[in-house]
């Protein structure tokens, strides 16, 4: 029998019991809708995380000192104080996959401006820090190489600090005191926004790392190096080059452990997006249970329908319908029901994911894959749960079916 005719017959049969067909399809509609909406939340979270990381620069690498162990006693990570300015410069000079570096020395300090004060993070960095971190200066300028070399007492304010100390007044050229040492404000950074939790990326002041070493901490090593690889593709290469350079500089014998750590931003980003990927699978998995329940609803109604229409099956068989004609007829009804439910479910899912992102902070992202997957899943549910009732119908004996009251 022609497939279009079969579908037409199925639609007619479903049309005779509109309310029942709709309620049966509702299970699939809600199931598909839930899968699409839930997966859109998961994928939205994933996209958000990926966006955050790419804002920081995916070609970013971090170099930190390793864990020091002295006579069996292990310090924590970064317990070595063996990373120096010269190491950082050697990385820039000798690794051709490296573009920019920024030696870092971090601290906290109490900041005073006139009658206001604020406790904040002090980032001592190199002059290329804004390029490496993909972070723009809003007003004024970042300190220059010259500022770094001569350890000048200049600073750039994060937007949160700027707001707290100056409350909208122009901070450029003003003098603030950091642990009683005067610093001239030469710029402000654009706002990056909170990154979640209590940590605010804008609650920070940048000064040259040399100044931080001398004036704030009194040290001559550096705490870490931010490195920017030429491209994301070359960040693994950059990582290997950095390791080679530092092993030579730190005179580490072949086979011995590194006394430093190099981490790759794209690895970290991958880990984070993997975590949100698991979230997506989890949400989608829970939602697909409702799709499964919807499928059982279809099976239930199809079984009822077969019993109700035993006589019709008998008539059709006496007119020459073969087993497979009856099988296809009922199977098609189940598939049409679940496919229509799937289509309506797509509308419901896309609509509710729009509503979620509109009325809450959550980012949602509906992908073509999730729609296709949910629809194919719904149709397979129809085939799977429709098969048993259809087979039952096709195996009826025509004489019994004709006699059935």
């Amino acid at each position: 029998m022609n497939i279009f005719r079969t579908i037409k017959i199925a639609l007619k049969a479903l049309g005779r019991n509109k309310m029942r067909s709709f309620l049966t399809a509702l299970g699939i509609i809600i199931g598909v809708g839930a899968v699409i909406a839930m997966v859109s939340i998961g994928q939205g979270a994933k996209a958000e995380v990926e966006k955050r990381f790419s804002e920081m620069g995916t070609n970013l690498l971090f170099v930190r000192p390793g864990s020091r162990s002295y006579r069996g006693r292990h310090g924590g990570s970064s317990s070595y104080e063996n990373l120096t300015e010269a190491d950082a410069e050697a990385i820039l000079e000798n690794c051709d996959a490296v573009n920019y570096i920024s030696p870092n020395v971090n601290s906290r300090a109490q900041i005073i401006y006139r009658n206001k004060n604020w406790n904040t993070s002090i980032y001592g960095t190199g002059h290329d820090y804004p390029i490496i971190r993909n972070w723009e200066v809003e007003e004024g300028e970042f300190f220059s190489e010259q500022h770094v070399k001569s350890a000048r007492k200049v600073c750039i304010l994060g937007s949160e600090v700027n707001q707290n100390l100056f409350e909208g007044a122009n901070p450029l050229g003003q003098i603030i005191r950091m642990n009683k040492i005067p610093f001239r404000v030469i710029g402000t950074m654009e706002s990056k926004g909170e990154s979640g939790g209590w940590f605010n990326r804008d609650d920070v002041i940048f000064i040259p790392y040399t100044t931080a070493q001398m004036r704030l901490l009194g040290i001559d090593h550096i705490q870490s190096v931010d490195v920017s690889a030429i491209s994301m593709d070359r960040s693994a290469e950059a990582m290997a080059q950095i390791e080679e350079v530092l092993r030579i500089r730190h005179k580490i014998a072949p086979g011995a452990e590194d006394d430093f750590n190099v981490r790759n931003m794209s690895d970290i980003a991958e880990g984070a997006s993997e975590a949100t990927g698991i979230l997506t699978i989890l949400l989608g998995g829970i939602a697909s249970i409702s799709l499964l329940v919807g499928g059982i609803g279809i099976m239930n109604i199809m079984l009822v329908s077969v019993t109700e229409r035993i006589r019709e099956i008998g008539i059709r068989m006496s007119m020459g319908a073969r087993e497979k004609d009856i099988l296809y007829q009922f199977l098609t009804e189940a598939i049409v029901l679940s496919a229509l439910g799937g289509l309506l479910g797509i509308i419901l899912g896309v609509g509710s994911s729009q509503l979620i992102s509109h009325f809450s902070d959550m980012t949602t992202m509906v992908s073509f894959e999730s729609i296709a997957l949910a629809f194919i899943f719904a149709a397979s549910v129809g085939i799977f749960f429709g098969f048993y009732p259809a087979r039952k119908a096709s195996k009826l004996d025509p004489i019994d079916a004709l006699r059935y009251e």
Binding site: R16, S318, G320, R322, I399
Partner: protein
Amino acid sequence: MNSNNVLIKMEDLTKTYQVGETQVRALRGISYEIRKGDLLAIMGPSGSGKSTLMNIIGCLDKPTNGRYFLDGKEVSTYNKNQLAGIRNSKIGFVFQTFNLLARTTALENTELPLLYSNTPTREAKKLAMKALAQVGLEGRELHKSNQMSGGERQRVAIARALVNSPSLILADEPTGNLDTKTGNEIMDVFKRLNQKNGITVILVTHDPEVSAIAEKKMHIRDGLIESLE
């Protein structure tokens, strides 16, 4: 007898049902020949085996033993799917309770056998219109089965039986649910189809008035042919 004229040949047909532990011998050896163009009535009280015989003649069932030839083919050896094909192309059924599809138009009911013979839609519609005209239902093609009277429904059923140009129309108590007048009209339709169009008709009935129009009568009792007229 010219064997080319034989439509149905039954050779010692038996049918045994297993009901629980007892065996019910519904048919105990029926041999008979039906020729093309015959109008035969199969008569017998209930429990005589006439329904079983009708099911075998109609290829809905197979005999336990014996051979059954339809149009020269031994259909008693056919499997379920082949029997469905034979029902579709060679046999038209008319039932006591009409057995039309509910809430479906006369036209669609009539087209039903053509659906299973893969007749193209347009052709099917033409054939169904023609069959409905043959039973006097022109202009009622789009009436739904539940909007029609018993007589009209039975006419639709006859049109449906006719539409595939079968070798044989098999009618099971076709007037059982109709009043006498309508019943007579339906019988006239059968008579006309037999005489004018040369279609072989087998009526299964216990009503002597119905069998009166038949030129041959077969009485069945206890699974055997009791007498032939």
